[in-house]
Chain length 111, copies 2
């Protein structure tokens, strides 16, 4: 992930309702959750939730599919992984720095 996309993803997550919704989606797994379910769970008005989900979608952090009259959102795991990797990339210039961070795992094994 490059800088612009990373900033879009971080901005998307840096909001109470969106962070709560995204975490619910991460925990829900690939089956995802309906927009209305998320709105109720995080306490947002439907139109506000729609706006927020569009932000997460635009940032590439979630995917959506229609199922009946509901629109189901799911976490985009590779995007999340890429975000974490970008933040920890090349930690301590790549030295075995002994710092208590998952950087080694995040930055090299996953992309």
């Amino acid at each position: 992930m490059e800088a612009a996309g990373t900033i879009r993803a971080l901005s998307a997550l840096a909001q109470e309702h969106r962070l709560a919704a995204f975490r619910l989606l991460v925990q829900a797994g690939p089956e995802g959750l309906a927009a209305g379910t998320l709105a109720e769970a995080v306490g947002a008005a439907p139109s506000a939730m729609s706006f927020h989900l569009a932000q997460l979608d635009h940032a590439g952090l979630v995917t959506q599919r229609r199922e009946g009259r509901s629109i189901i959102y799911s976490a985009n795991y590779p995007a999340m992984t890429g975000l974490l990797a970008y933040l920890t990339e090349n930690c301590c210039a790549g030295d075995a720095c002994g710092i208590d961070t998952p950087a080694a795992c995040v930055s090299t094994e996953f992309a």
Copy 2:
């Protein structure tokens, strides 16, 4: 890390100059970098960089120390780790979901 602190951290990182500065600090390791060095490296005015570094500091993502006339900033690695853990916490409800994410590593081994 709880929701409010996480949002502060994500907001702090969701800005071009601050993200660039934080990544430089992560890569620089515990020795850190001076405010002026960061300002020049990311192309920000000194007063703007000061504002941005204060945001990162307020979010707990960096620490600072004076060294001569310079103020040296360093990445706060445990804070970064906590942020990553919060995002991936309880991924797929804790099931072995087989999803390509460092969640298992981030959420349980580090806090």
